[in-house]
């Protein structure tokens, strides 16, 4: 049945595409339509159909009777959110193009909206993470009088203006926990990534410059560690770490940082070694060696300045990866430990609310808010990294 609908839709769109092309050829006769493939015409029609479908859904969410409208609540949020994000990114870029030094203006001029949006989000997260205690209205593990307050602050729907995003099952303010979650989740991920870079980067460059048995030994060791899927390895080590930590939960969080840093440093090692090796074969390194320069000068003055761009991009990617691993571990219950608030644990604790979505969409949003907070940051970082890689590769495909 569904297949039949799909087939009819496909053929219909194909016909529309054909008609569009024929019309374009007949009426305008430009070479663009002459050389257009049927698949391209079909693509246009498909896009038009999708946009129309979304518009219809949005219209329903605003003007449909109350027994249907809640079902389109999340679609509305998604569409409005997307438009808002795009607008914010665009405005931020426009701001960057007019303010600041000549150099920074030039950077913003060559930047796509996605990257501008990414930078904006990263800045916002950094501010929230650093000033979390000032911004949060309540403490992260402060149990308040009322549990299960619905987000939205509308008393008619079970909300409370004191808790704009509601409270969880034991009565902690979700907004405060989200804000402290930024500090904890992002903070631990940042520290972990830095550790991984310190370890992997140092060894990688040493291996690249010195070569020989040190390189062989380290590389084989890293090969073995990388043969175990990283999340699985992290879970295994966390099982052992939890035995070591016993009831000291802060110790377990510390172990987690070290474990993930070590596992991720293998990837950093691979990259910095490869980058280092690419630079080491350059003639200017040979010239410096023949001049009689020492190892320190070679690494810090000749190699590192040329490795910043790929390393920075890798830092972004590694951060995302570490951040997601920590979130996944917390979600699975072996990551950041209470009483610290963190997004992964919040998603797990609040997941049950999602079942109210059909009739009380506001009540279902907390777990999605926490998960979305994770996704938003990683998407933002990836947008920036993608742009950095694209512009540094010099490839204008």
């Amino acid at each position: 049945m569904i297949l039949a609908y799909l087939l009819i839709g496909f053929l219909g769109l194909l016909f529309l595409g054909w008609a569009l092309r024929a019309a374009g050829r007949g009426l305008i006769g430009s070479p663009y339509f002459r050389d257009m493939g049927l698949s391209v015409a079909f693509g246009y029609m498909l896009a038009v159909a999708l946009v129309a479908l979304l518009a219809w859904g949005y219209w329903l969410s605003r003007f449909a009777p109350p027994e249907i409208a809640p079902r389109y609540f999340f679609l509305r949020i998604a569409i409005e959110g997307l438009v808002l994000f795009a607008l914010a990114g665009w405005l931020f870029r426009a701001l960057g193009r007019t303010l600041g030094t000549a150099g920074s203006r030039k950077v913003f001029r060559a930047m796509p909206v996605t990257a501008a949006f990414g930078i904006l989000v990263i800045l916002l997260y950094a501010i929230v993470a650093i000033f979390a205690p000032l911004l949060a209205p309540y403490g992260q593990d402060q149990v308040l009088a009322t549990a299960n307050v619905v987000p939205g602050g509308d008393p008619a729907l079970g909300g409370n203006p004191d808790f704009p995003l509601g409270t969880d099952q034991i009565g902690r303010d979700i907004l405060s926990r989200l804000i402290f979650g930024a500090q904890n989740t992002v903070g631990f991920a940042f520290v972990t990534t830095c550790l991984a870079f310190l370890l992997g980067g140092t060894l990688g460059f040493l291996a690249a410059v010195l070569g020989g048995w040190l390189d062989q030994l380290l590389s084989r060791f890293v090969d073995v560690l990388m043969a175990i899927p990283s999340l699985i390895f992290a879970l295994l080590l966390m099982a052992i770490a939890s035995a070591w930590a016993g009831s000291e939960r802060w110790l377990l969080t510390l172990y987690m940082v070290v474990i993930i840093a070590v596992i991720d440093s293998t990837r950093v090692y691979r990259l910095s070694r490869a980058v280092g090796q690419n630079i080491v074969v350059m003639d200017y390194i040979e010239a410096a060696k023949l001049r009689g320069e020492g190892l320190g000068y070679l690494i810090f003055k000749e190699i590192l300045p040329n490795a910043y761009a790929p390393l920075l991009a890798e830092f972004g990617l590694r951060f995302c990866f570490v951040f997601l691993t920590i979130a996944a571990l917390s979600f699975l219950g072996v990551g950041i430990q209470p009483p610290l608030a963190d997004w992964g644990t919040m998603v797990r604790d609040l997941a049950a609310f999602i079942n109210y979505a059909a009739f009380a969409p506001q009540a279902a949003s907390p777990p999605l808010l926490a998960a979305g907070a994770i996704a938003l940051l990683t998407v933002a970082v990836n947008f920036v990294v993608d742009w950095m890689l694209y512009s540094s590769s010099g490839l204008k495909e």
Binding site: I228, I232, L236, M238, A243, A327, V347, P367, N382
Partner: protein, 332 residues
């Protein structure tokens, strides 16, 4: 063909060696646990006799090296020893030690089958979808289509699996009750029923893996289309279809096979979180549960299975790309 056979034999040997060393790493890691398994199972008030009995049952009284080889020898035969959780239970019920222990293999086998089923469903959807999208994005690169797909896949890659999972649950299980949000699979279920219950977790995995695979396919194809022999084929006046099918495809096979194998390897880790979200009775969920209750033999066994599958897929990618290289297939 001699050289190819030699290279493949080398890779195989290297793969087995890696797996061997990985097993040592896993075993050593587990043996870094503080104290004694037996004590931690029975608690501090246990009598020395009970502790000694458990130790004997679990073979803890032997040297680490001989324990390792016992474990490895068993693992090769599919025998991963006994589960501690079950041992614990057995000691409480007071039944004779030994007979009450369920083997790890018995626990893992059905769940392993379930996980394979989930991963296959995801792969069957993801592979054709991502290859098509990847090739299309490469052919229409820098078009609106390409940019939209780029943003969508980047977002999908960056999102945690559980976010995608809950969004899918929201849309397909709660708002529109089409599919079940819990995948309680049991033996003797009919295939369509089983498929229905597996579909949502499989779709979640598909979303993550498709994004990765599609981006890598796109990059591989763009790289390929930039090569001078494709320009030459165009300058010979061949039709676009022929350029793609005859000149691009045979050379794209190696990178694409590589992409597919790498992403299937990625699927294996992705399975863990997704299984937990959907309460899917697979090996990933068993693994997480065992980690929480520190059931070490199960953790060890799952870890080894995951690592073996991962190494095997990477090895397959390696070997297939060697086989598809004409320089190696037709040496001078």
């Amino acid at each position: 063909m001699g050289t190819v056979a030699k290279i493949i034999a080398q890779r195989l040997g290297l793969g087995i060696l890696t797996l061997f060393i990985v097993s040592i790493v896993i075993f050593t890691a587990v043996n870094m646990l503080p104290g004694d398994f037996a004590e931690s199972i029975l608690g501090q008030g246990a009598t020395p006799e009970a502790v000694a009995a458990i130790r004997r049952d679990l073979g803890l009284d032997q040297s680490p090296v001989s324990r390792y080889f016992d474990w490895l020898g068993g693992a090769v035969r599919g025998d991963f020893g006994s589960s501690f959780a079950q041992a614990n239970f057995a000691s409480f019920t007071g039944s004779d030690s030994g007979s009450g222990l369920t083997s790890v293999a018995q626990q893992i086998a059905p769940r392993f089958a379930n996980t394979m089923f989930l991963a296959s469903v995801a792969a069957i959807i993801a592979v054709p979808l991502s290859l098509t999208l990847g090739v299309l994005a490469a052919l229409f690169r820098n078009s609106v289509f390409d940019r939209v797909v780029n943003i969508a896949t980047l977002s999908s890659i960056s999102s945690p699996e559980f976010f995608l999972a809950y969004v899918l649950i929201l849309v397909f299980a709660v708002l529109n009750p089409w599919l079940p949000s819990l995948s309680n699979i049991y033996e003797g279920m009919s295939f369509p029923e089983r498929l229905e219950k597996t579909l949502l977790p499989a779709l979640t995995l598909t979303l993550v893996v498709t994004a990765h695979m599609m981006r890598m396919t796109r990059a591989a194809i763009i790289n390929l289309l930039a090569s001078p022999y494709i320009e030459m084929a165009r300058l010979k006046g061949l039709s676009p279809m022929r350029v793609i099918l005859r000149h691009a495809l045979p050379n794209a096979l190696a990178p694409i096979v590589n992409v597919v194998a790498l992403n299937l390897a990625y699927l294996i880790t992705g399975v863990v979180v997704v299984e937990v979200v959907f309460v899917y009775p697979g090996i990933g969920q068993l693994f997480v549960d065992s980690v929480k209750i520190r059931d070490i033999p199960v953790v060890q066994a799952c870890c080894l299975i995951f690592a073996a599958a991962y190494i095997l897929l990477n090895l397959t990618a390696d070997i297939l790309s060697i086989l598809s290289n004409p320089r190696l297939r037709h040496p001078r």
